[in-house]
Symmetry: C2
Subunit: 279 residues, 2 copies
């Protein structure tokens, strides 16, 4: 048994849990939306949790953030205007800003307390917010997309928590339809879509819902994510008009982005579903 120097997240309904060994808690704030905590771990760097669920650790956040962002950004022909829904820790923003084509990124995070915790404890993520191309808005992303001018974004990235509570509305046909409307011609959406091992039905539902919302094509990429439930995570891509599984690396030229996980061959490989996802 682990003593109370360990943080444990039980993976709801799955009879399993991950634990990280802690040195100390360094942040604890109850926002209007959720409890925001930061811990120093022994081997995973700093850990941020929201209502007791892992959001980010310094050791493995690179995989998730790179795979949420770069497949979508390289699927689009020339992304200039990007919208991030959620992503308060600014890790997704950091990856988006690596793309020289980008002129403006709107990051719409419900809970300013998440970004404030990042500012204090994850400076290498939060630094992205100082880029002159970045605009941060602390408000409801669902309303933002509903009110967005049609065709105003090239890429929309949905960096949400699990589909319970405030994030539930981010997993719906209505929301995707508004995203579709907010995207310009050639636009691409990418949303975190949970675990292939635990939530295969959710991934299939998201693929159906994106099609129902008018997206021309959908594809899911998956990747290992040590500290998320099951250690296996996915992002589902919707292409407004073209293909969701053809990207600028297809010709053989590797997209040039400083990365630790992503590369063109990895992107191509992640587009091949495990056999059980084809059923």
């Amino acid at each position: 048994m682990l003593d109370d120097t360990w943080y444990t997240e039980q993976w709801a309904g799955e009879g399993s849990a991950i634990s990280l060994e802690l040195k100390e808690q360094i942040h604890d704030f109850q926002s209007p939306y959720q409890r925001v905590e930061v811990f120093q771990t022994t081997r995973f760097g700093k850990l941020m949790t929201l209502d007791g669920l892992v959001m980010v650790t310094e050791r493995d956040e690179f995989v998730y953030h790179e795979m949420l962002v770069h497949p979508a950004m390289f699927t689009h022909a020339d992304p200039k205007r990007v919208l991030i829904i959620g992503g308060g820790d600014c890790g997704t923003l950091r990856e988006v800003l690596k793309h020289d084509s980008v002129q403006q990124v709107d990051m719409v995070e419900l809970d300013q307390a998440v970004t404030e915790a990042a500012a204090l404890h994850f400076p290498t993520l939060h630094a992205a917010s100082f880029d002159p191309r970045a605009r941060l808005y602390f408000q409801d992303g669902i309303a933002w997309v509903a009110d967005a001018e049609p065709g105003s974004y090239d890429v929309i990235l949905i960096d949400s928590t699990d589909p319970v509570g405030p994030a539930q509305g981010l997993f719906s046909v209505d929301f995707y339809r508004n995203c579709q409307r907010a995207l310009a011609s050639g636009g691409v959406l990418a949303a975190q879509s949970e675990s292939p091992l635990f939530h295969a039905d959710l991934i299939r539902a998201m693929q159906r819902d994106l099609k129902a919302a008018g997206f021309n094509d959908v594809a899911t990429v998956d990747f290992p994510q040590c500290t998320y439930p099951s250690g296996w995570w996915s992002v589902t891509i919707g292409a407004r008009d073209g293909s969701a599984s053809t990207f600028r690396g297809e010709g053989g030229a590797p997209p040039t982005i400083a990365s630790r996980y992503y590369n063109a061959a990895r992107h191509r490989g992640a587009l091949a579903p495990a056999q059980f996802m084809l059923g």
Copy 2:
């Protein structure tokens, strides 16, 4: 904190742990080599542990066993004679026997107690041992390979525990050199090679050691493995003569094997290393 109805494996030296919720313990045997335990879990089916480390759960064993076996078997042109070192639960054997070309499989497991536990509690794995092509030997795999007739195997699969204790000798140039000698022309070796996140140096060392032992080419495939350390695992392939990353699916024709995880596109994708593994 989790109470004592949970099994916990601490990932050694990594300040992290996975836990599985238990219904009951159904097997507990101290063999001359290790403690062999089996539990009924709430959501992962049955779980076998060796000295407290997860060996196999019914829920996710398919990924590991398919990815240890099929990439190697499809890299070989026509595998007839296969040697499995370890693999006492018979899951690797089950996957090998799906290949119609196979005429004989020698499974050399150090600890008969593992196979006996599988016979009692994992009948769908152990059933493979009744196939007339399978021969089970309970003895030391290192000595077996040292004594093997040169050129007597087409494929050697190393389904070992971690490189500590009895399995340590399975991670050495001397052992790989004996494997190389035991392989016939065109032969292929595949060995489990731990976690890319936790053990990247071990993977690189194994690649170097296989080359030093005379293998012509090496390649590593990786895959999500929920209940192994970090949830991300790998298998390293050595080709005695040809290429370790060209396989019978390359032409586009998908290898036909009943599988839940493996397919040709997934195999191809898994051959593309994450960016940090290229450094």
